[in-house]
């Protein structure tokens, strides 16, 4: 069974390595992400948002939905800690 899993993983690793040959290099100026999205963000930050920090504009404006999700994740983590570790909390039947 172990060897079957190993063979499965090796075949998947081979598939990924084969597929990664087609990906653009790191910091490739002609990668699709840098050719289409980045110039648009830079231009829109200059025209519409008018703040000097493009990272802030992307974080809170263009990717605002993402940041909302991150904030809710942090909020949920705090809520989970509170619910798990809250002590001295009395129920109606007197047990704590």
């Amino acid at each position: 069974m172990k060897w079957l899993t190993l063979a499965f993983l090796i075949s998947f690793a081979g598939l990924f390595i084969y597929a990664s040959a087609d990906l653009p290099d790191r910091a490739d100026p002609h990668a699709p992400a840098t050719e289409h999205l980045a110039p648009e963000f830079i231009a829109l930050t200059d025209e519409e948002v008018e703040i000097p920090n493009i990272v802030s504009a992307i974080l809170a404006d263009f990717r605002g939905y993402d940041t909302l999700g991150e904030t809710i994740v942090i909020f949920t983590a705090g809520l989970a800690v509170l619910l798990a570790l809250q002590r001295g909390y009395k129920r109606d039947d007197g047990t704590s």
């Binding site: 008018e50 802030s56 605002g64 939905y65 940041t67 904030t71 705090g78 509170l82 001295g88």
Partner: protein
């Protein structure tokens, strides 16, 4: 609850120098977030570290009146609420969720005599929400992780 430390030097240095400086630095990171690296997440973590330092040396009982454990859950909800509200107000003006273009911020530009676009104001409002949420969640985690059972404390 963490105990109050005995050293008077430690109290002096923490109270007079370190906590005010860290809070000021965190506020700077927060305000300057639009111009340089920084923003709500980082500033919230920095300011929360100042309050955790105060709790570590002065003890929870002496430092928590500045930021009581009980109200932190309300503060973190308020932070998320500010964010969601900033996203929902444009919906009443017929725009998409989180489209700050239609936030009613013209009155602020009139008061401040300084032109900022509605989207820049929206980013700032959102960062305020993130700042409050991160700050209060980190403090809440510290407080509840150091909490002892009630029969252990003398209050």
């Amino acid at each position: 609850m963490t105990e109050r430390h005995d050293s008077a030097i430690l109290h002096f240095v923490v109270r007079v120098f370190m906590v005010p400086f860290i809070v000021m630095f965190g506020t700077y990171v927060f305000i300057h977030g639009e111009l340089s690296p920084g923003g709500g997440f980082q500033a919230g973590a920095i300011v929360a570290s100042a309050f955790v330092l105060a709790r570590l040396t002065l003890g929870n009982k002496h430092s928590s009146p500045r930021f009581a454990t009980r109200i932190l859950i309300w503060f973190s909800s308020l932070g998320v609420g500010i964010y969601v509200l900033a996203g929902m107000i444009p919906m009443f003006y017929g725009d998409n969720f989180l489209d700050y273009n239609s936030l009613p911020t013209a009155w602020f530009n009139d008061i401040a005599a300084h032109h900022r676009t509605a989207r820049a104001m929206g980013i700032f409002i959102v960062e305020v929400g993130v700042f409050i949420a991160v700050l209060s969640v980190l403090l809440m985690m510290y407080d509840y992780l150091t909490l002892r059972p009630r029969d252990d404390t003398d209050d």
